[in-house]
Amino acid sequence: MRTIDSKLMTQTVRDLFLSAAKMPGSDALRAIESAHETETCAPSKQALAQLIDNARISGETGMPYCQDTGMAVVFIDVGQDVHIDGDITAAVNEGVRGAYKQGYFRMSVLDPLTRQNTLDNTPAVIHFNIVPGDKIDITVAPKGFGSENMSRIAMLKPSDGITGIQNFVIDCVKTAGGSPCPPVVLGVGIGGTFEKCALLAKKQLLRDIGSTNEDDALAKLEQSLKIDINALGIGAMGFGGSNYCLAVHIAKYSTHIAGLPVAVNFQCHAARHAHATI
């Protein structure tokens, strides 16, 4: 049994958010650059050029790339041979609190009904998972809500099949249009239960943009959906063109004989996440 001090959790979470909430990952920046190179629609090309400039200015000034520095989503895989000294949830929230204050990040979290802001961007949304081993894996993903708001889940019928899944994803894109800050990444979950399906979709946003799915059938579905989505011509920011979607990432899980849940989680071009192991 290995003991880890919860203070180390706080420090790690704080450091991860300080880097992640400021700037999209290098995979996202590369994908935006390549979209800019191929885009022929003038307003859309201009928007993509501004995003490249924006990343440069953010790097030079220390100002966050996007003012929506997100709600703090944290995935924690705890090795079953680890003992944590202290309150792990409190430690994570303390790390979030510290990062958002130190980084001059926006405090966007509030009570859903009274709309009273908590003023420190807590609580985080924390997903714990118990895994073999004596390490703790932490991935942070500050999530902006322009894209989160466009996300949807559908409990399809088994007879809807793959065509039903494709139609639902396309319908989500048509409904979202230019609102979720395209170019976007789409995380798609297929199967499980209602909540499992949404979590599958969310976790797909952590993948490197454009990385190949290990499942051949899902890899093909990802490619064909990306082509179909970009062929809609909605384009970056909804200004037209062929670069609405940087990648579709899909995961599946076993489901019930009566069901075919599908969840689509939108991620704007500010695709931000960071990872550490302690």
């Binding site: 307003p43 924006n54 953010s58 966050p64 996007c66 405090m107 709309r115 708001n149 609102s179 200004f239």
Partner: protein, 173 residues
């Protein structure tokens, strides 16, 4: 890129067409979800508003907290459609223009054409770029709303796209 100066008279507005890439200088007020709710509470109670609506421009935005040494921290647009319920009334009160991101409802579009106004889209997520084109930022009202307080900003050549023009044409599919 066409240089334009706010506020716009009827002639200026007629020269703007959906899809035009422009850079805007002049004053705007920030207001997003919570500030709009407050403004409408005042309107519904026949109370005076803290900002003039007629002839003004509203930027749907809520910046990051002030950072030492900078006029304003990262400050990009938020999704305009969340203000669909509020926008027609404000256009009817003489609101000159709005800056936001993404498409808006047909009611809002009709209010834009009915009043000879204009809707600009800024690039969502370009918060640092837009902040670097803001020369003055001053809190005007609803300070307790933090990021959502109303600020008056002075723009110096902020790059925008005419999203819906006074003729009702739209850049969005």
């Amino acid at each position: 890129m066409k240089q334009i100066q706010a506020p716009f008279n009827a002639t200026d507005i007629k020269l703007l067409h959906a899809g035009d890439i422009v850079s805007l200088s002049g004053n705007v007020y920030t207001a997003r979800d919570a500030a709009h709710a407050r403004l409408f509470e005042l309107l519904n109670n026949n109370q005076p508003l803290p900002i003039p609506i007629a002839g003004s421009g509203i930027f749907y935005a809520g910046p990051c907290p002030d950072m030492p040494g900078r006029v304003i921290n990262s400050c990009g647009p938020t999704t305009s459609s969340r203000m669909n319920a509020f926008a027609p009334t404000l256009y009817d009160m003489g609101l000159n223009f709005v800056i936001g991101k993404g498409p808006v409802s047909s009611d809002v579009k009709q209010a834009i054409t009915r009043n000879g106004a204009v809707y600009f889209a800024a690039v969502g997520g370009a918060g640092a770029l837009i902040a670097s084109h803001i020369t003055v930022a001053e809190k005007i009202a609803f300070d307790d709303l933090g990021a959502e307080a109303i600020r008056q900003l002075t723009f110096d050549k902020v790059p925008l796209i005419v999203a819906i023009d006074s003729y009702g044409s739209s850049v969005f599919c």
